[in-house]
Symmetry: D3
Subunit: 333 residues, 6 copies
């Protein structure tokens, strides 16, 4: 398949992949072997979900959210040859603090990983007097370093761009409150040095009856993918039913140079809880994307998402189709 739009990504011929089922008209379709990581896939785990993977050496590496049976939330490392079958560590990643007086991390969850140059940056929801954005890196998936946190609490869903915007690093994030936040917009911030942050801009917020799946709050999913049409952002949106939150996945295209400007945004979701492993689990009715692999040659995408805050699942799409879907169902900013 040739790509109509340019996508800035390396070839990834061994991307995990399964063709769209015959008869399906879905732009994003589920992997038939879902869930690929079950709740007891790692030792002492209560659940494994909302996790991030990247190509690494000949295969893939990942940072997994693993809640143990004390329900402590932490990150673990994993490796895979094919992106589907994973070996996950028995213990949480031990981050070395960048300098001596870096504050303690009370918990870690919902990681994203992105490569800038030869370094893999990790962002997560970090516990320090409430939930905030944690930031760290690894060069080799052997040693991990924790840096200063970009912001104060209360914040979640921090995601770095895969390259600088102008001279600065750039981050999407979602300011929140101290609990199960019932509101939430995506904001954008910059930093010259990954230590001091500023130039904060609002990107987009929830919507009304014209797009109810994103009515309560929204948050960035995987790191944006650079395309000729703008930054392709997969994100989650939340609807509040009388029985709680429902998390779905949609997509938007952000301006390449000023990514806080939304070019297109889909009114329709791309993936919403339907499968058993998305509807039943520790938190029913959750589809929560945290990572995407992209084959720059074909525009094939493999999306990793958490199901019901319990397991890791996989879905597939083409960049071209996603872009056309977003434009065709555009809500406006």
């Amino acid at each position: 398949m040739s790509t109509r739009y340019t996508v800035v990504a390396d070839p990834l011929p061994h991307i995990p992949w399964e063709d769209r089922p015959p008869g399906s008209r879905e732009v994003v379709w589920r992997y038939s072997g879902n869930p690929i990581v079950t709740r007891d896939h790692a030792k002492g785990a209560n659940s494994i979900f909302n996790s991030a993977v990247v190509p690494f050496k000949e295969g893939f590496a990942g940072v997994f959210r693993v809640d143990d049976t004390a329900r402590r939330m932490d990150l673990r490392r994993g490796f895979s040859e094919d992106g589907i079958h994973w070996e996950i560590d028995d213990k949480p990643i031990r981050f070395t603090p960048e300098h001596r007086d870096l504050p303690q991390s009370e918990f870690k969850y919902d990681p994203r990983v992105v490569r800038l140059g030869s370094r893999y940056y990790i962002t997560w929801c970090n516990g320090y007097h409430g939930p905030g954005i944690g930031l760290g890196y690894t060069d080799d998936f052997e040693t991990f370093v924790q840096m200063e946190s970009p912001f104060m609490p209360y914040n979640r869903n921090g995601v770095l761009f895969p390259r600088k915007i102008g001279d600065n690093y750039a981050l999407l994030h979602r300011p929140s409150d101290a609990g199960h936040t019932a509101f939430g917009d995506i904001f954008y911030s910059e930093s010259p040095d990954l230590k001091y942050w500023g130039r904060h801009r609002h990107v987009m917020g929830p919507r009304g009856v014209e797009s109810l799946w994103q009515h309560t709050k929204i948050g960035a999913g995987p790191a944006p993918i650079e395309t000729s049409e703008g930054w392709l952002l997969l994100y989650h949106g939340v609807l509040t039913s009388c029985n709680g939150f429902v998390y779905s996945m949609g997509a938007a295209l952000l301006d390449l140079d000023e990514p806080w400007k939304v070019r297109y945004r889909s009114a329709h979701y791309l993936l919403s809880p339907r499968a058993y492993y998305e509807c039943v689990g520790d938190v029913p009715n959750v589809v929560f994307p945290c990572a995407v692999l992209c084959d720059g040659e074909t525009g094939r995408l493999a999306v990793y998402y958490g199901g019901a805050d319990t397991v890791v699942a996989l879905a597939f799409a083409y960049v071209d189709e996603l872009i056309e879907f977003i434009k065709a169902t555009d809500l406006g900013a």
Copy 2:
């Protein structure tokens, strides 16, 4: 089977039907082929549920609640030969406003349909500065007309009686608030012309520990059925567990001439979420009846109800048994 009580309804020999399973003592039993309409039964649908059907020509017509994948709530038309297999339109019904300055409808959901004479009246939850009762009609299921709304917001679950009470049209409804209302009684109102409404009367409210399934709120289901014992009303009741609302179905008998007077009301529910398609879906634990077909000759009933705010299901009963059940488990008004 002969009917002990008189029911005022035309014969409907081709009513969808399946006998009670051997060994079952249930007064209302589920169709073995449930759900009859799945969430992706119509194009672009996220879910299809809480829908209304009536006999029409040789078969059946229906007005379906179809939420699309933007989670926009709207109504679509469907036809069926047997009441079980349905063809549903690709697009929402387009209602023609009765006159020029009728307000816009921001959304529509949870329809009921009832025939008065040769006209099919449709009521629904209508979006106009909050949820209210929408009212319209069709004579042929080809063109649909939207009339003035009977009330202001905030109201839901409006259901017309299938004939005038005295000289007036009569409507059951449930005043509510602007959100996931945590209270709700059934009221009765009248109109000489379906345009101006008055003579509002309270019918019945939630109950206490003697009937907890209807402890939080109640709302009328299908249009009442006229019987020698009074108007047979199927309705939903809601219990609030620590994990949200649970919707069940019960029944009452209302006075024929003064339908705001409750003659009997069942302490026990008739149907409560048990099946997978009632317990798992966009809103777990919902049984929500919106329509009933009645074979006047045999007293057989086919009840259409929404499951988990996701699918349409079917259940069966006999009028005689229902009436006896209501009397036997009578709570008092």
Copy 3:
């Protein structure tokens, strides 16, 4: 003083009046003898407030909200020669039901009175399975008749127009919920006969940071006054501080023929709690207008309002200045 704009109102030369204090630039100014009715002005009263007065015979008559020391909410009659010194009955008004089966009224509060022809119509918040609009009349302030309620619960702040709009009676009101409602818009409805109501239209809702005093909810105050610039509506708006609701008074001009269309609406309040009797009492920080007298010859207005849900106070204004104020501070609809 001559009036720049036409006001449709009888001369009322004996309107209670006090000139604007020297040096004041206020468009609405308080009476120096406030409060004119104190909480123990009537026998057994806990508080007297949110009350309605009209010219009657040589003087004035009024319907007063009097909560007794059981905190039962009811209406009492009062008479005054000068509109300032009032004799209030020892007992609540006894309304005769218009017909035998009219539902009981569990409580009554916040009356408005308006004359149409020779009849004085009274609306109030009526207790019938929750708060709704009560409707009644008197021809002589001796006998009072209660009619069918225009709507179902939950509704408050119902106010009739002083003449028909087209062929119909017209009513402003504010749908609400069952408690201390945290939302609320003004709606408009019509009736051919004061019995059946329809043609419901949204008039206006709360506003954002550009006019925070009306951010939580709004509700009509006295009956609108007809002027050449439209119906002059005084209304209350509510702001939610961290310590509760604050009630202020503002004004709008509604279209004469289609009163659900707002021609102008003031961004600024006209009166907000400042005086001791507005800030301290059973409900701190409440200014709640329920009645206005108008001298058609001079455009002088005397506004009666409740202070702190405890007492009745009086303020003054000129129609001309009010209209100019509304236009000068117009928010748009």
Copy 4:
């Protein structure tokens, strides 16, 4: 298997039992035939769960929570030969009041049963102007006597110790409020006569991020088991997700002489909702232990617990392993 620690319990060679599945490392494992009692196992039942069983004669007797289809909550008696297959009565247990002026019980749920001498004491959540602790006994599972309630509302999860502490009867319980309580600690109280209660002591409360499964509230499960290491207490803990409460089971060891002193307490849960019958039902995601059988000879345990507030399930463990688990994962008091 020999027991490393002493357990004070009679031999119970016919305890229901199934060995740990091969490959499992679980300290507590589920019975493969779960659920052992389904929701429609008894006549008129909506659900059967949170129930208590004891050895009785040659087999077992039980007091079951059976909610009927009016969702009335009450207790029923059951008998079983093997502890797995149960005969449950058609009607609720009728308790004889101990004396004439004992208050009425509006509802009963969540029973625990414990033998002291030859008498079986039953505690439950009793409805008397709100939820409180009910207390009664039977000598023969034929006649049942209701005694004075130990405390006023609002209280739940009352569990007697199987012998006196010093000279007094002793009870664990969890003070609460009138609704779906969002807080809750375990307390201890004593009585010389099961009529008057005092010497109230705090035992333990919820925990923070180091043990989130017990973050919202905790409550005693079955009656404590006496061991050489202290009283072995199984208890439930609750986590509040964005979609409601999740109930899991953990364990602690309490001081033998001063049982309000916690010797060890596990940071990790032992059982948390995973199976379909624990995740899907009237209240999703509930594991709620109410009874445990113990074979004093081998230290084998059979734990009865409610699944999803809908069914009764069974799990197995060894006393020795439980004690070691608690010590190994000790949180401190």
Copy 5:
């Protein structure tokens, strides 16, 4: 003045007293010198309110709630010759624990004092893992002893009867929750030894629209006074306005032998916030009675109550008039 009804109380000729103001029809009237104790009357005090006094030696002794400027809540001792001018200690009362292992008291507030024989018993709201009832005594107002708490949390407003009922001590109290409880009924419990408590009975709860001042919750005030018509109980009731709680004082007569049976209960309040020191302060709109002195010879009463959670005030009444008021405005139980 002679007393129509018998009151069981010693003569107290030096009771603080001021005649009813001329023209007043109030059954309870305020002291003209109110407040008698201001917020800075004692060293380091933020506020002094909700306090209890008794006749002692030639004059009076009192236990005062004094919140210091850290807003720590504790009790202090005071003496007065005339019951109006008070000397209050600089430091909190130090209670000696009755025995070694009595739990710590985290805070103390809202005391009541009652004499049984020669001993003065004190009850208060005691901090021990939440608010509960504290119990202690003094024989001489020099040394104070803290006993076992009658109940577990969560409870407030515990008040002992001034003599045994049958063979047992008797206590009124109000079960609550852990915060600003929005519900609350008065219950009754007994104890043979002031250590173990049981025989819990419901006394009375809040009321509806017929008596709104006691709509949210109620709680016992001073110790009941024995009269020929029953126990005369002054109590507080709470109404929830849109701006918070309003505390008023009412009265009831309880059966002498079975005090959980209400003989009469006033629909009307006796005292409600009106004076500046009741409406403005740390908690606006609070009248909270904690003590009453009674002259057995004349039936004169002096009621001590807290104003606005800030100061102590005094009001007067006659037993005869109170009893007649209660009967005349009887609500029924």
Copy 6:
């Protein structure tokens, strides 16, 4: 009076001042002419409060929070010769954006002003998709420049230190949520350039029953004052009564080099609502300090604070006494 401790501040001999009233033991005492700025002191004002002043030229300049009668929140400039009598502008300050694409400010409130070198920096609560920290400066109180906001929403009470800490600018602030936040800790952040911010540290949070006046949330008041004992920080703390928030003022000493480390913190408040203008107004019971003047020679302090969110008031203290008070009532960090 000589100062025992060194304070780093210029002499300010013309500081507004009034000696402590005879007999008073207060560490902070109110000005007898309070309030110094009333609600209608400036044109079109609803209220003037929570405002910041600094020495400027021969007298004083200030940035005032002025809410107008639309309740729009904005900042205005004022000048005074004596710090007590103020001339306040008729219109809000117009800030020039530092660069073209700086986001709009939807509202501004609660300013603080601090001089660094010859520049006056202003921080405030800025409206940009919710409340955040606004930052700007003026050199001459004629032209004002708005800079990039330091953080994203949701944040309030941002206060700059009056000199760099190490090489960086330093800011105290209080992350919050989008409404009337019910939680809140003080945090510390640094910036090399006032544009990009990082090195976020927690300073201190609310406290429990040992210091209830600061139980709900706390926030920095005026810019810290440098002393030999550390940074002297005045801050507000909030208690939640059953009738809302109560704002008081306390103080702490922060480490000079690592200001996120609390050296001492007072358990007792210094000022709490008592005066009429603090208890009655738009928000009852608020004392909210925003500015302090310091005479470096004598250690005299003049504290400007808002009363009841309505007026500006003044209080006085000595640095020495404040430091001793903090140490004497130290809570620990």
